[in-house]
Symmetry: C2
Amino acid sequence: MNASPSCPGRIYGLGLGPGDPDLMSLRAHRLLTGARNVAYFRKAGRRGQARKIVEGLIPEGAREIPLEYPVTTEIPVTDPRYNACLAAFYAEASARLEGISRHGEDVVVLCEGDPFFYGSFMHLHARLRKRVPVEVVPAITGMSGAWTATGIPVTWGDDVLTVLMGTLSEEDLVRRMSDTDALVVMKIGRNFDKVRRALRAAGLFDRAWLIEYAQMPGQTVMPLAQAGARVAPYFSIIVVHGQGRRP
Amino acid sequence: MNASPSCPGRIYGLGLGPGDPDLMSLRAHRLLTGARNVAYFRKAGRRGQARKIVEGLIPEGAREIPLEYPVTTEIPVTDPRYNACLAAFYAEASARLEGISRHGEDVVVLCEGDPFFYGSFMHLHARLRKRVPVEVVPAITGMSGAWTATGIPVTWGDDVLTVLMGTLSEEDLVRRMSDTDALVVMKIGRNFDKVRRALRAAGLFDRAWLIEYAQMPGQTVMPLAQAGARVAPYFSIIVVHGQGRRP
């Protein structure tokens, strides 16, 4: 292990799915339970959601590599310091994983949901993909976990599905919500009131469902109209089901 | 087995994912390999895509229940006969599965992709869910298999994702394509030329990728501009990746 072998190890962006380890793919499970190096993002001082999902599945003796965000919501994303701070973090994390790869070892990077769908791993992927072998294992998205939890199909026939982040402006939310058949809203958290107002303005409020912790312990599913003054956690997703053609 | 027991069996909408059996969830795999009754849709005279995915995984002695579409593309979906014909088919298929359930046996219904995302199982679910226990196992969507195959993340930061069916009017396609960050187009097949014209009109043609048979044997991935006069098969998906915020 002192000399770097000529063949670098592979870095896997390992999609874990929405939260229930039973919804992990066979491939993800096999790679995880055979891993020697397991990296995951987390907020400093926290356990980390991805790490929680795989509790009991990391092999004994595997090295754990927590990648701790220097900042999450303390600085607004519009502040240039936010980007600078995160760019330095991703560069450092990428260098660390590249170092392990250059020693000939594989690393799995745990990803909540699907790695290429609004995931943090994408920022490592962008930095590493031309330097060492990187492979992405797709997974069930959080939104799929959420609409499945409602017990109602999300899209029928020719339905248009729009996926919106709660971080958009209220005006943009209203305009886009008013022009779709089926709707998913993510990144709710502190945007909850704005998202609710937009749903009302778009006439979708009474058809909207709120799913908290989809496919995780503590999952709750309710029509949004019944959510009252509830504070939606970060992992909340809002779904409005399409009403398209059905024989 | 002559008298119906008081406890009906459960009908599972079993999401198989995009095509590679290795991308099936642990839960789907366990339910499938323990199944006594395995139902799946197919076109008469064909093997059926869902059935192909699980080749070698159905336990010996399990009963196979092919549900054969009476019509697929022979009648336009706008013709009232199309709806009538399919409604009768789904009613009959539901009655058949309900009969097995009432004998106290579980049935798994194989679903390509995610069952609640533009899936045929939804039509059985709508008919069965108030009559017998029905459970849906979510899965990796075909579109997730497709964007993963391109090796490029599909959505970043606050990107808006729009999912469109190629069956929409050209005018509607152009308008919606012109107003999104990331785009997925499904149901291409005989709509391929129209979809291409719409992508050109929306200025997205040069950023679009064509994925055929994502995560299946015979997968091809190419920039749409290189597809030439190719005829896209039914399982094609077009992806335009978002360009959102990235530190």
